[in-house]
């Protein structure tokens, strides 16, 4: 057991820190148009790429840095801690690229990987459907073979960045005769066609972070099938696994940053000595530390077993619990001012309600833990 960084890891972190400190784009300027905001993030990704920091965990042969698991984690920690914006093509970098590297053909890798790194081609994710939230295997979007193409019709939801995206990681049903999860195929769909309509989906926060996709006989060439027809379930699971393990590091750092802001708020309000406040800070500090420790413990586990285990579900669930508690606490702290939207805390508070839903509801995560970690019987 050794919770210190090795000299190599230490050196890597110092390198990351130094680079970020020299290249940090600063806080996103206020009052930018949506397009300019996006450009800001594209520029930042290009800067990361020029510095060799796009695709940190990708193998060098595909343009990545070939960093170890620990190095990638350190990079994500440092990037989040510096409060730099996320790179524009985050879904492709964290999920799509690794999925392609694992399941794609050499031609596909050559074609699709480079423009991910340069942010020339942005990716979005088309998994969820209105009728298939938790029950991913019940997807209804259909793809039918027509010559060398597949013709796709259906509806997708919760697709971040759809209006910027060139490619959509699309899971669709190619065979309705076989068991639900066996009839799915994973495609890369070109978003630049009339047959794909993007509609922004406004959230309760007032922002439109997500979109709906309406797909009406869109065409996908057969060469854009990833991992083979009928293997979509397995390929999608890889994407989701990559999501859960990769993002955990960023999440725990963001949590720490927010906690720091809350501690500042406590002081501003002169509530340092309030025993109720102290108990809640003590608890939230402890829980966020535990989340950090468990993120590292999870890495040790992956290094031992070679792949992320179902324990990853614990981290995402724990994070949503903590983040919701923390943001609710800020409302209590602000008392009669809390409902007013002139504080960023109010936005964060509303936004946090989605934490226990997005990327797997807490109920589904508890099922996974119960069934796959504890071995309890499945209900279905």
């Amino acid at each position: 057991m050794d919770l210190t960084l090795s000299p190599d890891e230490q050196a890597f972190r110092d390198e990351v820190r130094a680079w970020i400190s020299d290249n940090h784009p600063g806080k996103e300027p206020e009052g930018l148009s949506e397009d300019d905001q996006w450009k800001f993030r594209v520029d930042w990704q290009r800067q990361l790429h020029e510095g060799g920091w796009a695709g940190v965990s990708w193998p060098k042969e595909y343009g990545g840095r070939g960093a170890t698991l620990i190095e990638s984690a350190l990079f994500n920690e440092e990037l989040a801690a510096s409060r730099a914006p996320g790179p524009a093509n985050v879904l492709a970098l964290a999920m799509g690229g690794p999925t392609l590297i694992g399941h794609g053909s050499e031609e596909q890798k050559e074609r699709f990987l480079p423009p991910i790194l340069t942010a020339e081609e942005i990716w979005c994710q088309g998994f969820s459907e209105p009728e298939s939230g938790s029950d991913l295997a019940s997807l209804k979007t259909k793809a039918v073979k027509d010559g060398d193409d597949w013709v796709v019709t259906g509806q997708k939801v919760w697709t971040t960045y759809a209006h910027h995206a060139k490619w959509c990681m699309l899971v669709a049903r190619t065979d309705s005769e076989v068991a639900k999860h066996r009839g799915l195929t994973y495609f890369l769909m070109d978003m630049e066609q009339e047959e794909v309509q993007v509609r922004p989906l406004r959230q309760i926060t007032g922002e439109a972070e997500f979109n709906e996709l309406f797909i009406e006989e869109a065409r996908i060439p057969d060469e854009n099938v990833i991992g083979g027809v009928g293997n979509g379930w397995m390929v999608a699971i890889t994407t989701l696994m990559n999501e859960r393990s990769g993002l955990a590091f960023g999440l725990q750092v963001r949590l720490k940053i927010l906690l720091g802001q809350v501690i500042d708020l406590v002081k501003e309000q002169g509530l340092e000595k309030d025993p109720l406040v102290r108990q809640r800070i003590g608890q939230l500090y402890t829980e966020s530390e535990i989340m950090r420790l468990n993120a590292w413990r999870g890495l040790t586990g992956i290094m031992k077993t070679g792949q992320p285990g179902p324990e990853g579900s614990l981290g995402k669930w724990h994070w949503s619990d903590i983040n919701q508690a923390l943001t609710e606490f800020t409302m209590d702290l602000r008392g009669p001012d809390a409902p007013a939207t002139d504080s960023e805390f109010t936005f964060e508070f509303l936004r946090a309600r989605a934490n226990s839903i997005e990327g797997g509801t807490t109920e589904i995560l508890k099922n996974i833990v119960a069934e796959r970690v504890l071995g309890l019987p499945k209900l279905r």
Partner: protein, 339 residues
């Protein structure tokens, strides 16, 4: 001993439910919320129904019914999340009725009862009231606060700064200003206003629970309605426990206001504390049952969620009221203000 409403009260309740179901549908709530204004027609009809003066003595143009009747209306208004100045005006009326001089009553209550010169109430913190409902359209604002004397500030004498909140179904502002002192029992008015707010919270909870239950019956995942899973069904049962708890405490506060005023301070704080927590927890829990769709602006649930959360912070939060209950339960005054 009878916890049931009498015939008149039942009829007030069913009239309110029907009226609001037809006139204050979610489409209307959405339209008002997005437009940043109330629907004047609905408010006008509420006034015509005599709601604005429901508890105000006949001599001032009211119906001279009680806080129980006010609570009944307020629960329905919460159920429908109706955008209107009803609550703020009623709260102001309660303050004038219980803390005002005879002259103040004569001057202000008729306008409250007729809706022609509405009032509102704010709680002072460091010299201003940070979040006062409907202040911009009010003729007068009652400002109360611990340690301060309660005062009536004419609209013209008040500094009123609009503030956007998460609750688009109600208008808010920061208010400060000097005015004439109220000689009576401000607490008696505030406690009644708390009962009304608890009723609104109960209504929000009830509606959010019903929406969750409906959704849980319809929505299928893994070939079963999600309401068949205990993760969802037990959550819905918990919503019922909390909603019914809020309702019991609220009705008791309403009854105590009318018939056993010595029990009102405890009853009002119990109702406000419990209903504030329940209002938030039940609406947030309903969002979780709805999953992603409940997080969208298009869905109606967020109006309830935001109203409930905002109500929880008005007229003292849950912790403040709980601390007051502890005081009444025998622990004496607090030494530290509660967050």
């Amino acid at each position: 001993m009878n916890f049931d409403f009498d015939d008149d009260q039942r009829s007030i309740k069913s009239t309110a439910r029907e009226f609001l179901a037809s006139r204050s549908k979610f489409e209307k709530v959405r339209e008002c919320s997005e437009g940043g204004h109330y629907d004047e027609a609905i408010w006008k009809e509420m006034i015509d129904l005599g709601w604005a003066g429901i508890f105000i003595p006949e001599q001032y143009g009211g119906q001279e019914l009680g806080v129980v009747e006010l609570v009944i209306l307020q629960e329905e208004l919460g159920y429908a999340v109706t955008p209107s100045p009803f609550f703020s005006n009623a709260a102001a009326g309660l303050m004038v009725l219980h803390a005002g001089s005879d002259e103040q009553k004569e001057r202000l209550l008729p306008g409250v009862a007729s809706g022609e010169a509405t009032g509102t109430v704010g709680i002072l913190h460091d010299g201003s009231a940070p979040l006062v409902p409907d202040a911009e359209a009010a003729s007068f604002i009652v400002l109360a606060g611990e340690g301060d004397t309660t005062r009536i500030v004419e609209a013209g004498d008040a500094k009123i700064e609009h503030r956007d909140t998460i609750d688009g179904t109600r208008s808010f502002a920061r208010v400060s200003g000097e005015g004439e002192e109220m000689p009576g029992d401000a607490g008696a008015g505030l406690d009644r206003a708390c009962a009304a707010l608890a009723a609104e919270l109960t209504g929000c909870s009830q509606r959010a629970m019903e929406m969750a239950v409906e959704y849980a019956k319809d929505r299928k995942q893994f070939e079963r309605p999600i309401g068949a899973y205990q993760g969802v069904s037990h959550r819905c049962a918990e919503m019922l426990l909390e909603t019914e708890g809020a309702r019991a405490a609220t009705y008791y506060a309403g009854w105590a206001a009318d018939h056993e005023p010595e029990s009102l301070p405890a009853a009002a704080s119990m109702a406000k504390a419990y209903a504030s927590d329940a209002g938030w927890r039940v609406t947030a829990s309903s969002l979780q049952v709805h999953g992603g769709i409940g997080f969208t602006w298009e869905h109606d649930l967020h109006f309830l969620l935001k109203r409930a959360k905002t109500d929880g912070h008005l007229l003292g939060g849950a912790s403040w009221h709980r601390d007051r209950v502890a005081k009444i339960a025998g622990l004496g005054d607090a030494v530290i203000a509660q967050v």
